[in-house]
Amino acid sequence: MDDLLSKIAGGYNYIAYITIMMIGLYAVIAKRNLVKKIIGMSIFQTAIILFYISIGAKKGATIPILMHDHGPEAAEHAIKAADYINPLPHVLMLTAIVVAVATLGVALSLAVKVYQRYGTLEEPEIQDQINKS
């Protein structure tokens, strides 16, 4: 039992992102409303951003800005990697956020076009109209 608890405490970030990811996946698969599906897709992407951010984090470390002078003497200070969090996952996620925003924009504009065409965003009702025509 203690073993399990310590596992959960040690990897709670992973449990959190998997849970969020599954909520998103559930919405994409099970929801019948197109906008709800799009929201699910967005949640799914956000969960992965959370995963990346969490693997860059460190206890007791600071943001990766060197806290010494900017002159020639700055190079003389030894830089301990352990004192700084890893900035790379954050930088990657800036790109991924841009991609996620663009995807959301495309998806929502398509939802608008679907609504103009069928007058509804409920999948069963759209399916009915397609079957009738």
Binding site: L25, V28, L34, K37, I38, M41, F44, Q45, I48, F51, Y52, I55, L88, P89, L92, T95, A96, V99, A102, T103, V106, A107, L110, A111, K113, V114, R117, Y118, I126, I130
Partner: protein
């Protein structure tokens, strides 16, 4: 100058797309010439790079002069130089055929269409050339987002199909991104070669295995590998002909190449083929994909939908061939990738040409087409024979490699599926030819009202515009040429790109 060629492949279409977008608002007449220029530069550079690679061996291009593990590099070997040339050539041929259709569109769509088209090509070529796993994700999303928009430009059910494509495609890309995250957490690197050097010590790790599976599943989503194919049929059926002509031959094929790249370069064959059971399961999944694609194609009433299901089946060929785990299978898979891009382009261009003269692409409206559209149907016959796998068209040779690889690996189910699918393709295409050649032609629905003499004038030749038919005929001839030179292609290019360790 020539050492900068790999950058031109990406930079020329990227800048071209931006200029086209601006020209779309101010000088609409410039859009098409700009698109042509950027595609010609991209094709010229890729052929130049292919030549360099064949003469001097694999090359590494450092973007901005940053050294590999930190900066982004382009790694070009014989395999991706070949795929680059194929992507550029297919996109250029289809661009020529697109003009007639796009000029008939509302004016505000012209600039947007060409900009999206060129940007999609940038994304596809970037995915092939890049040596950085995260860069690949970004380019994958560029190609996908433009692809969604290109599909949505169609009428009727296109927006709904595109939205479905967005949902499924984004889930797929996210799986890939998650796999990359696992790899980064384990190795601390994003450079493909660097990861491959750091991985051997970690081969036993569950996280690396999870990364491998996640990346493969993500790629399979995008490549429409059978259980994950649900987005493909509707998207390609309702997409406007120029978009379908770009995406159908290239999107799935480029993803198959990315899968092969991941298996060979990042995880190396030593790791990819080390799971006896998993490898067999994937080959059996490919068998199911081939058979299911063939059966669904049999049930299709619409020509474009039929072609879309054939693609599902062909993806099964290539995934199965790559996972057989021998050199012959990988060769067959790469050769089929090249051939299938050309074959799919040929049949989709034929569908585009038909859409100029027919109101819909239902199979029942094909009556009398051999008389009215002889060139289009002639090209379709060559395309069809190639998909069936009749020599000397190229489809035969890649299928031969795949079947030989299946015999070598003892994968009898895979061989049976290949033969079954060839047989179904035979039925499918001869059903089309029979309707188009033998069934009595009725002038009804074709706009002819000549009364009793309708038969005579209805049988007059009414070809699609030359701008569509010429690229189509060139592609059809290309299928035969590719077939005749397939031995040289395998020995001179593909074999150089495969790692020596792969037996």
């Amino acid at each position: 100058m020539s050492e900068q060629l790999p950058a031109f492949i990406i930079v020329a279409p990227l800048i071209g797309a931006c200029l086209i977008f601006i020209a779309g608002f101010t000088r609409r007449g410039l859009c098409y010439p700009l698109a042509m220029v950027s595609m010609v530069v991209a094709l010229g550079s890729s052929i130049g790079v292919l030549h360099q690679v064949l003469v001097d061996g694999p090359l590494i291009y450092k973007l901005g002069g940053w050294d590999p593990p930190w900066g982004i590099v382009y790694n070009v070997d014989a395999l991706n130089a070949l795929v680059l040339a194929v992507v550029a050539a297919v996109a250029l041929v289809n661009l020529v055929a697109s003009r007639q259709f796009i000029d008939a569109q509302p004016f505000y769509r012209i600039g947007a269409f060409y900009a999206l088209y060129i940007l999609a090509v940038t994304g596809l070529m970037g995915m092939v050339i890049t040596g950085d796993v995260f860069n690949l994700y970004v380019l994958l999303e560029i190609a996908s987002l433009t692809g969604y928009a290109l599909v949505a430009m169609g009428d009727d059910r296109a927006p709904l199909s595109a939205l479905n494509y967005v949902l499924v495609g984004t889930i797929g890309a996210s799986f890939y991104l998650l796999g990359v995250g696992f790899l980064y957490a384990m190795t601390g690197s994003l450079n493909m070669v660097d990861i491959a050097q750091r991985l051997p010590g970690l081969y036993g790790s569950t996280a690396v295995f999870a990364a491998f599976v996640m990346i493969m599943v993500g790629i399979w989503f995008k490549a429409a590998f059978f259980p994950l194919h649900s987005w493909l049929p509707n998207a390609y059926t309702y997409a406007p002909p120029p978009s379908a002509g770009l995406l159908a031959p290239l999107m799935t094929k480029v993803m198959i190449y990315v899968m092969i790249r991941m298996m060979l370069t990042v995880f190396t064959p030593a790791y990819s083929f080390s799971f006896g059971l998993l490898n067999q399961v994937v080959v059996w999944l490919a068998v199911i994909a081939i058979v299911a694609g063939a059966i669904m194609a049999l049930a299709a009433k619409d020509f474009k939908r039929l072609l879309a299901y054939i693609i599902v089946s062909e993806v099964g060929y290539m995934v199965g061939g790559a996972w057989l785990g021998n050199r012959l299978g990988m060769t067959g898979s790469m050769l089929h990738l090249v051939n299938d891009a050309a074959m799919t382009l040929c049949v989709f261009l034929a569908a585009a040409a038909l859409s100029f003269r027919l109101k819909d692409t239902k199979l029942t409206s094909f009556q009398g087409l051999f008389k009215t559209m002889p060139f289009t149907m002639g090209a379709l016959v060559i395309g069809g024979l190639s998909i069936i796998g009749v020599p000397p068209t190229c489809g035969f040779f890649s299928k031969w490699y795949l079947i030989s690889a299946g015999i070598q690996a003892g994968a009898w189910g895979y061989i049976a599926a290949l033969l079954f699918s060839s047989l179904v393709n035979l039925i499918l295409f001869f059903k089309i030819f029979e309707i188009a050649y033998f069934e009595p032609f009725s002038a009804h629905g074709h706009g002819h009202d000549n009364g009793g003499h309708g038969q005579v004038s209805a049988l007059a030749v009414r070809e699609a515009p030359a701008q569509v038919v010429v690229p189509l005929v060139v592609t059809a001839i290309g299928l035969v040429v590719l077939g005749l030179y397939s031995k040289e292609l395998v020995a001179g290019v593909i074999d150089l790109g495969l790692p020596l360790g792969l037996k």
